[in-house]
């Protein structure tokens, strides 16, 4: 299998962390992972981007041209990257920050990740809501591994943050598992 993902949003939303999290789960499950960020003038609020390839074979070029999955956190990211989506691309949109959906005819999953995270009283876990949604939509992971990898990544922060991150993952997973939400 090979799964090519593009994740885009704004600095501070956890765009790169979401990519790293998915890469860590893939690695834990024995797959190859190649994560590549846009780098340079990163700052809170500025554009943020990473690509991720997960494969059970050797990964040659780590650059993603046409993604199998495009995850966008906000309107600017959607505007900038909608053109990357091909006919087979699944587009996961954080509908909390997207007013105008420009992707026509694609396989789409609209999820109000910001609102779901808000209800958990922790907006910073919106990216993990999207991770849960991705896991439900693509089913390339054994979701039982999601918690263990999360705990390892959080390290010392796990004491304070594990519960809300796990809840965020579960909420995202449950939302995306409801067929009615798929457009």
């Amino acid at each position: 299998m090979i799964e090519k993902i593009i994740i885009a949003g704004s600095g501070g939303q956890g765009v790169l962390t979401l990519g790293m999290y998915l890469a860590q789960i893939a690695s834990f499950e024995g797959k190859n992972a190649a994560w590549l960020p846009a780098y340079g003038a990163e700052k809170r609020g500025g554009p943020s981007f990473c690509s991720l390839i997960i494969s059970d074979r050797e990964i040659f070029s780590p650059v993603v041209e046409t993604p199998d999955t495009l995850i966008v956190f906000d309107q600017r990211a959607l505007d900038n990257y909608a053109g990357k989506a091909g006919p087979g691309t699944l587009v996961i949109e954080n509908s909390s920050l997207i007013l105008e959906d420009r992707v026509k005819g694609a396989n789409k999953l609209l999820i109000p990740a910001g609102e779901i995270a808000g209800k958990l009283d922790e907006i910073r876990v919106a990216n993990i809501v999207l991770a849960g949604a991705y896991a439900a939509a693509k089913k390339i992971f054994n979701t039982e591994n999601a918690a263990g990898v999360m705990k390892e990544m959080l390290g010392k922060k796990a004491v304070k943050m594990m519960e809300k991150n796990l809840a965020a993952f579960r909420e995202g997973f449950a939302f995306a598992s409801k067929p009615a939400e798929r457009i």
């Binding site: 690695s27 499950e29 992972a33």
Partner: protein
């Protein structure tokens, strides 16, 4: 993680390799896309009991490494293309003084300040560095495992031949994270080898000097000849390359290094699906360049495709090795352009019709 693999960034792998190889002195100055090296060094080096210095410039960085090396330390500096230009004077002095050191160039687009995108713009300044009649060893990794392995090897090579060794990576390899299983059980072979030439204080022995200025008539010429003997030994012992796909008797050969070689491996698969058999020649040491091995491999194919992320630098060495320009087809992307595997395949298909 259960698989034994860890997700690690190319730049970070370089830091861990240097520390595992016994490097205990680092001086550097920030520049994208290699900033994770000094950033990680700033806390990892003190953890290992070594010295980390953010110098005020690249000139100072290379000269601090000069000093640390002269005192016998395993020393390193890292930068990206414009910063390496600034270091060339120091590299020449170290070559003249026969001092070991490890240098890393995480290349970006040029000339001038250029941009911060991945590029192979500095093949020339890596294999033809500085002023004077000298060489340095240059190693070109093409994945994250090799960012670790070659950096580790570089310290022993530097000590063995008393020569600066450069790791020539690029922004893609520096920023890329892959899950890899690093062999961290290796011990640096020459870490504790004596360095009788080092300036460690003359108490109990005759004083000695390390200089690159040789003004007596004939002295520099003799020094150059001695250096050349060393370079010939390095050519004989340390020239390295990877040759892939030759077991299928390919009609065509791709020659590429670093990131371009990695992408070319994808191109080989696409070509195979289209019924075009290709082999890959990947120089691992860019100096010494594996001329003989490439010459032999090229004899078995109709054409040699040279792919680079520049407008034609390594291709000059390929020409020297192959000795038949009509066999060579070059395709390059400058200024931060990264070709796709499909793009390289389309170039091949266009030339073999």
């Amino acid at each position: 993680m259960t698989t034994g693999k860890q997700l690690i960034k190319g730049n970070t792998a370089i830091v861990e390799a240097a520390l595992d190889a016994g490097c205990r002195f680092y001086a550097g100055y920030p520049i994208t896309p290699q900033n994770e090296i000094p950033e990680t060094m700033s806390w990892r080096m003190p953890e290992e009991g070594g010295t980390f210095i953010q110098a005020e410039s690249e000139l100072i960085s290379i000269n601090m490494v000069f000093g640390a090396s002269a005192a016998g330390a395993r020393a390193m500096t890292t930068s990206s293309s414009p910063g390496i230009s600034l270091m060339q004077e120091g590299i020449s002095y170290m070559a003249g003084c026969e001092l070991p050191a490890v240098l890393v160039n995480v290349m970006r687009g040029g000339p001038g300040l250029g941009n911060i995108a991945p590029s192979q713009s500095d093949y020339f300044q890596a294999v033809k560095p500085g002023h004077g009649d000298f060489h340095i060893i240059t190693l070109a990794p093409h994945n994250i495992s090799e960012m670790y392995d070659y950096t580790f090897d570089a310290f022993d090579l530097a000590d063995k031949y008393r020569i600066p060794v450069m790791i020539l990576a690029d922004g893609l390899l520096g920023q890329l994270m892959e899950n890899v299983e690093l062999d961290r059980s290796r011990k640096p072979a020459l870490l504790n080898a004596p360095k009788p030439w080092a300036l460690t204080g003359a108490s109990g022995r005759k004083g000695q000097r390390i200089v690159s200025l040789l003004m007596q008539p004939g002295a520099l010429e003799k020094h150059n000849m001695d250096l050349n003997e060393k370079y010939n030994l390095i050519k004989k012992n340390e020239t390295r390359h990877e040759l892939a796909g030759m077991e299928k008797n390919p009609e065509y050969l791709i020659a590429a290094f670093g990131t371009c070689a990695r992408i070319s491996k994808g191109t080989m698969n696409i070509a195979a699906d289209a019924g075009i058999k290709t082999g890959l020649f990947r120089p691992i040491t860019l100096w010494p360049f594996p001329y003989e091995a490439l010459k032999e491999a090229a004899k078995k194919v109709k054409k040699v495709f040279v792919f680079e992320m520049n407008l034609g630098q390594m291709v000059e060495d390929v020409r020297l090795a192959v000795g038949d320009d009509s066999k060579i087809e070059f395709y390059g992307r400058p200024g931060g352009g990264v070709p796709t595997a499909e793009e390289l395949f389309e170039f091949i298909r266009g030339k073999v019709k």
